[in-house]
């Protein structure tokens, strides 16, 4: 199968610091890939690189047959890459439903004039969006919280809502930035089930950045390891577990 996302020799440099150095990484369609590494290894930088928040100093990124370098984040999302954030970034003043609805904006055919005229096509599309948002919320068991303020939700529900919101953009690739951070073991189990379910149900490729080894080893088909911005290993969970360089990076020599 051909690669959905291909990062080719990408470097990100901040002044004298190479946050990511000559990274090569490919993700195939419907593949669940983990990206791990010690603190400050450049994992989130890779996310910001893929989503267009940072531009690569050198190298190229291909998604679905086209280069995404130089595109703005919203354009990259339109191509089919959605993400969640390490520190939850929901739209704080909006309700649970509106958070999802806002993300449906991307595929809207209507614009300003429709919103003002409120003709038939406006109402039809508005109903479509509502149905889609409600269906997504129901799949993730958040439908009973539809009109709640999103900031009033428990932590785990906020994480789930972020995933729902990302799915509303109809992505082909979902980037999850430390979804297990701050969760207890039960919640982590639930999260693993949720990620696998999402990936199968929506036929997504998933790139997962995570600190928790049990989560990563438990669900990823393939894992890449970063250390000081350099990819030091890549392989199946079994191979990574026994890789000498990985163990050194985490535990020291």
């Amino acid at each position: 199968m051909k690669a959905l996302l291909e990062i080719q020799d990408c470097t990100v440099q901040f002044g004298g610091l190479k946050a990511v150095a000559e990274l090569n990484l490919a993700i195939r369609e419907r593949e669940l890939v983990g990206l791990i590494g010690p603190n400050g290894a450049g994992k989130t930088t890779v996310f910001n690189l893929i989503t267009g928040v940072y531009q690569p100093t050198a190298g190229d990124i291909w998604f679905d047959g086209k280069s995404v370098v130089g595109r703005r984040p919203y354009q990259i999302t339109a191509r089919g890459i959605a993400r969640t954030f390490q520190n939850i970034r929901l739209f704080a003043s909006l309700s649970v439903f509106d958070n999802v609805r806002a993300a449906c904006n991307l595929h809207l055919r209507n614009g300003v004039s429709h919103a003002l005229w409120r003709g038939e096509s406006f109402h039809r599309e508005e109903q479509e969006v509502e149905a889609m948002a409600e269906e997504l919320l129901a799949i993730f068991h958040l439908d009973h919280l539809r009109d709640a303020e999103c900031t009033s939700l428990p932590y785990g529900d906020q994480r789930r809502l972020e995933i729902v919101r990302a799915l509303a953009t109809k992505p082909k690739l979902l980037l999850l930035d430390e979804p297990a951070a701050g969760m207890n073991p039960t919640e982590k189990q639930e999260l693993m089930r949720l990620i696998r379910f999402t990936q199968e149900k929506f036929e997504l490729a998933v790139l997962l950045v995570e600190h928790d080894m049990r989560v990563v080893m438990g669900i990823c088909e393939r894992i890449a390891v970063l250390d000081y911005g350099v990819k030091i290993a890549e392989g199946t969970p079994e191979e990574i577990r026994n890789n000498r360089r990985v163990i050194e990076a985490y535990l020291g020599e």
Binding site: F85, R89, S93, L106, L116
Partner: protein, 328 residues
Amino acid sequence: MNRPKTWLILFVLLVWAASRFQDAINPYYFDILITIGINIILGVSLNLVNGYTGQFSLGHAGFMAVGAYLSAAITVFLTPRLDGGAMGATGLFVVALVAGGLGAALTGLAVGVPSLRLKGDYLAIVTLGFGEIIRVVFQNTEALGGSRGLSIPTRETGLFGTYLVAALTIYVVVLLVHSTYGRGFLTVRDDEIAAESMGINTTKYKVIAFVVAAFFAGIAGGLYAHFKQFIHPEGFGFLRSVDIVVIVILGGMGNTPGVILAAILLTILPEGLRTLGNWEALPTSLRALVQNRMILYSLLLIVLMLTRPQGLFSGGGRFTKWLKGRGA
């Protein structure tokens, strides 16, 4: 079926009926009524930028000035030339207003595109600077009266025109925000990075908000010019912008009913204090205090901001809930 449009038409008809009797209204109250209408237009339109989209603009009076001068110029220069023409005074007035609004919108586009890259305080300073530039430009344009000001021969602004525009402003802002498309404005306010990641073109939303707000500010300027029949660059300075920002903040950022009420309250308050100061039955000492009404007015603002920083009509109050229940 189409409720917002029905409400709009009903309201316009009501205002039209009321405006039939506008000659019977005491000129002083008439002045207050028109000023309230103009302040509603200014407050509600600025609320789209400062409240819903979360971009702090301090240059709203600048857009008002563009609309006021452009529409006044059209009236002043074309009235003698079109004397007895097919359009008539009212037709020319409408053309002047729309041209003023479009001119202000274009100015909004020209100012917005470069400056909306900035955030928070920086955007406030840039828009403040822009407002001052506009004022100085008009002050030095001799063809438009320069620092002597510009007189407009006809008084075309009436109750109907003012409240028609006010209703249109409210209609546009409310319907724009209350749609899936319009949720984009709120996401820009809440978290720009997350908004971009959800596929929302934040620059486009900011520019739309800016241009729409400038358009209505321009029309408000035209209404003002054709009501007072005299405009002066000093009337559109920094303080005027602050007045409008105060209306928005007091009403509650991103709360249209609140902003409308604040516009009414802040227009009536100084006048009410004036009346109170002249009231014979009041003890002399109290009257002296009330007569310094601008001090009292400013004090009231401070107290209001200390006690209701989220805006007079924001939050979970019963009144706000009632208003929101009305689909606003």
